[in-house]
Amino acid sequence: MDELIEITVTVNGTVHREQVSPRMHVADFLRRGLGLTGTHVGCEQGVCGMCTILLDGDAVKSCLMLAPQLDGREVRTVESLAEGGELAPVQRAFKEAHGLQCGFCTPGFLMTATALKESGRSLDREEIRDELSGVICRCTGYEGIVNAVDRVLNGDAVGVEDER
């Protein structure tokens, strides 16, 4: 079958040396190769954003990359956010703002929000909506998600019902 390729990749702070198939995408590698099932797969077409991870600090759709491309890179997934059982601020904000329902898209939004926070940019709500439009949620209508990200980026703004 496929010839395997050896890669060295840092995932959530741990260095992994793995043999990977050239036809395996990164989301499958994380889920099947490393058992990090918090990264979800929704379309494998780069549209839905369920598989969004941080690659060297940038939010990327991991279904659009092949595992060999990870060689020498640094990856963070949703499993990296909470420390010692304590939710990270971005996770707390989603919880307090009712930013999730079924939770399948949540890792994608959390990683997108983390990248936005780390970018240090200041965004208004419309800009937040644009930035989040790479991840689709079919449950919430986005209001709770936008409120959560607004809180993470701009401080305690949750509770703004009418954004006009």
Binding site: T37, C43, V78, L81, G103, T106, L110, S133, V135, R138
Partner: protein, 794 residues
């Protein structure tokens, strides 16, 4: 059932936005969705599908595929027909011939995407490669994809062995003599409304992991479903097993919306393979498969008429509508609720409604949030606005004139639905006030300084939530009941384990059930652990659909919590030598109200009960309660919406400047969860109203936009701002006065937006009669209106 709840509002947890039980695991990537389950040495399945809308299979050659390294088994329709029973329909169409369907097509295929072969291999990649290596000779047959064309005499009959035409069934209901009333009415408005076909599109595709241990005769199927106990029944039937040999586990489910209702072919196939191979078999639907093999929804044509007196009083309504079933049945089939709410919240004595079901060569249609209610709402509410224009009346005033008053409820509508309670006009007044309707009317429709016209659109609706008893369902042939159940089991840590067959797919059911349990029992919310969706652990129930979970489930939780609490207090009374009436549950202990020093912890009481030591002489060991609860009637939620829309009369482009919804879901258990449900359903309503439509090309019969790139689901930047208002009128027919809430938001967007656009362009005489409403549709409507009603298309 137990009597009044003396403990109401004792903990304050009922009615508050407590953080959800579901959140911590989902936020940390520790949800357990079906694809996260992978038993050791699992095999993987791929499915080969028919590429034609209708075809006869002439031959299948699996030899090359079966010989490929890593391939374990190939199944075709011949195998499946011999070795399984057809998949059972949960909600049959009343009066329809049976259209049993097998997991794989035997000779005839009736839609693009229908499963034809399945392959199990060491990996999904190998299985997919093997599917490609299977040679299938198809003879394409004449097909029909258009709903109404399928009913024409010259249409090819899709199931000629069982049907004489493509009309599966026709279900009329009426009260009075609507035709006679319409003949005598001063004014009658009517039109034909086309509702587009859409995809419910949960973000988690369907998935199954099946394991079979022949010596134990135990099939364990992890299935992403809303109804684990019903899937268990269907698997047992189709695989010729006893129900006791089948266990279905859902884990976390990544959205359902009606799509994950009942057994699908692929789930049965994975189980069949697992039983043959004695190995775990996994299948996860990819998104291309999802668009073709998971149920679609909504597509229908409504011929709606309203008759009124010259003073605007509605005198009759009729709706002859045709739903599109697709090529074959699904668990639930096409929408059935347009009939039950066709007259809406209005005072209409005479009415007639008839639902027809057409078979077409498209993907089967199933349940989807709203299930007919958004569809009929568009027809009725746009006609009310046209009636207002015909009579020179204000559409807001015309609605107020005809809405049922609070003192007229309960009211039985022309389809037999019993509206329980509510103040319909209050919601309409609230939205009119919120948008300052008087000021908007005074300002005129424009064009404004930006060159655009501004219009206001209203819509009023009722929504059936829950079911009226199993007896009602039995009359319609449904294979499920109307009840919910729960088991509460005390544990030695002083907590309660709550077991429910309602699987968790975003409805916040774990949180709501725990809130009710805490409220009735007195135990801390945090000390309740919810275990959902495992048929091996939970009492037999119905499942989560039809906005019925809380209506039925709240009663079950209440009764079980009351029973558990009563026994706990009796044991404590014995230990503390006080009267039961003197005791209450506070902070994880049972405490005397009169002498707070007399207390015993729940952990101690639970241990005593579980071990059976230190109990009053007449008490049995154990501390566990199971309750089943069936509501007596459905509860009708209701609401009104107003949209303010700015329209460019040159291009047809429009912008929703405001959208206000006032709704009533009865007594609210968790306001945050309710708001989330309403906003989420609204987003789906906006999608279906504005951008979402599955399109088939009639000549080839192919689905032309079945990918995430081509099917436009609203993103965070696509939705208008929504303002929500609530009233809280308790329902008299449900525990705690709750009404269902999951589907409300899907109903109003289409009608409110259509009415606002037509109001803005009133001077052009524009009419909208279909969904989705795209700028192109508006542009064409303007051209048509400007041309005396004749369409003039290039």
């Amino acid at each position: 059932m137990s009597g009044s709840v003396a403990t109401e509002r004792r903990t304050g947890v009922l009615g508050s936005s407590v953080p959800r039980k579901e959140d911590d695991r989902l936020l940390q990537g520790d949800g357990r969705f079906t694809d996260d389950v992978e038993p050791a040495r699992s095999l993987h399945m791929a499915v080969g599908r028919c590429p034609f809308p209708r075809a006869r299979i002439e031959s299948i050659d699996v030899e090359a595929a079966a010989a490929m390294p890593g391939v374990h088994q190939v199944l075709t329709g011949v195998d499946i027909v011999a070795r399984t029973e057809p998949i059972g329909v949960l909600r049959p169409v009343p009066g329809a011939v049976q259209l049993p369907f097998y997991a794989l097509a035997e000779e005839f295929c009736v839609f693009e995407g229908q499963p034809v072969v399945s392959v199990v291999a060491d990996s999904r990649q190998i299985a997919e490669d093997a599917v490609e290596a299977i040679w299938i000779d198809y003879e394409p047959l004449a097909h029909v994809t258009d709903t109404l064309a399928a009913l024409e005499p010259d249409a090819p009959v899709i199931h000629p062995d069982r049907m004489e035409s493509n009309l599966l069934a026709s279900n009329p209901q009426h009260r009075g003599d609507a035709e006679a009333v319409l003949r005598d009415a001063d004014v009658v408005v009517g039109d034909s409304f086309q509702i587009g076909r859409v995809a419910p599109l949960p973000m988690e595709p369907r998935a199954v992991v099946a394991e079979w241990r022949p010596g134990a005769r135990e099939l364990t199927a992890h299935v992403a479903t809303q109804v684990p106990h019903l899937v268990r029944m269907q698997l047992a039937e189709s695989l010729r097993l006893d129900e006791g040999e089948v266990r279905v586990i859902t884990g976390d489910v990544g959205g359902g919306f009606g799509l994950k209702l009942g057994l699908y072919p692929e789930e049965l196939l994975a189980c069949r393979h697992a039983m043959d191979l004695r190995r775990a078999v996994k299948w996860v639907e990819d998104r291309l498969e999802h668009f073709r093999a998971s149920t679609h929804a909504r597509e229908s044509v409504h011929e709606f008429r309203i008759g009124a007196d010259a003073d605007g009083t509605f005198v009759a309504m009729t709706d002859l509508y045709t739903t599109d079933l697709g090529g074959q049945n699904s668990g639930f089939g096409s929408a059935q609720l347009s009939s039950i709410v066709f007259t809406g919240p209005y005072r209409v004595e005479d009415g007639a409604v008839e639902r027809r079901v057409a078979v077409t060569n498209k993907t089967p249609v199933g349940a989807y949030r709203g299930y007919g209610q958004p569809e009929v709402n568009l027809a009725r509410e746009t006609l009310i606005d046209r009636l207002a224009r015909r009579l020179g009346r204000d559409p807001y005033e015309l609605r107020l004139q005809n809405l049922l008053g609070a003192d007229e409820l309960p009211w039985r509508n022309a389809a037999g639905a019993l509206y329980d309670s509510g103040d319909y006009a209050q919601c309409l007044r609230m939205v009119a006030e919120a948008i300052d309707y008087e000021r908007l009317r005074a300002a005129g429709r424009g064009p404004g300084e930006d060159g655009r016209y501004r219009g206001v659109g209203f819509t009023c609706f009722v929504e059936r939530t829950g079911y009226a008893s199993a007896k009602f369902l039995a009359n319609r042939g449904s294979r499920y009941g109307a009840h919910e159940s729960v088991t509460l089991r005390a544990n030695r840590s002083g907590g309660i384990d709550l077991y429910t067959g309602v699987s968790t797919f975003g409805q916040s059911n774990e949180t709501a059930f725990a809130q009710i349990c805490a409220e009735v029992h007195g135990i801390d919310f945090d000390a309740i652990r919810v275990h959902a969706g495992d048929t091996g652990a939970t009492p037999l129930n119905t499942g989560a659909f039809a906005s019925r979970t809380l209506i039925a489930g709240s009663g079950a939780v209440r009764e079980a919590a009351q029973e558990l609490r009563d026994k706990t207090l009796r044991i404590a009374a014995g230990q503390l030598s006080v009267e039961v009436e003197d005791l209450e549950v506070v902070d994880g202990a049972v405490v005397s109200r009169t002498d707070p020093d007399k207390r015993v912890t729940l952990a101690d009481l639970h241990r005593a009960a579980i071990i059976g030591q230190g109990l009053p002489a007449d008490e049995q060991p154990g501390l566990e309660a199971t309750a089943h609860f069936e509501p007596t009637d459905a509860a009708y939620a209701y609401g009104s919406a107003a949209a303010v829309v700015a329209v460019d009369a040159e291009t047809g482009e429009f912008e929703i400047e405001r959208f206000v919804l006032a709704h009533d879901s009865g007594r609210i258990v968790n306001p945050g969860a309710v708001e989330g449900q309403v906003r989420g359903a609204l987003a789906q309503g906006f999608g279906a109203a504005l951008t979402e439509e599955l399109r088939y090309e009639p000549q080839s019969g192919q689905l032309v936009n079945g990918t995430m790139l081509d099917y436009f689901v609203p993103t965070a930047s696509d939705l208008p701002a929504v303002e929500l208002l609530h009233t809280e009128v308790p329902s008299p027919v449900t525990p705690f006065g709750v009404r269902g809430v999951g589907e409300t938001g899907t109903i109003p967007p289409g009608a409110a937006i259509a009415n606002a656009i037509c109001d803005a362009l009133a001077e052009y005489g524009v009419e909208i009669s279909s969904l989705p409403i795209t700028p192109e549709l508006v542009w064409r409507a303007i051209r048509k209106a400007g041309n005396g009603g004749e369409s003039r298309e290039g």
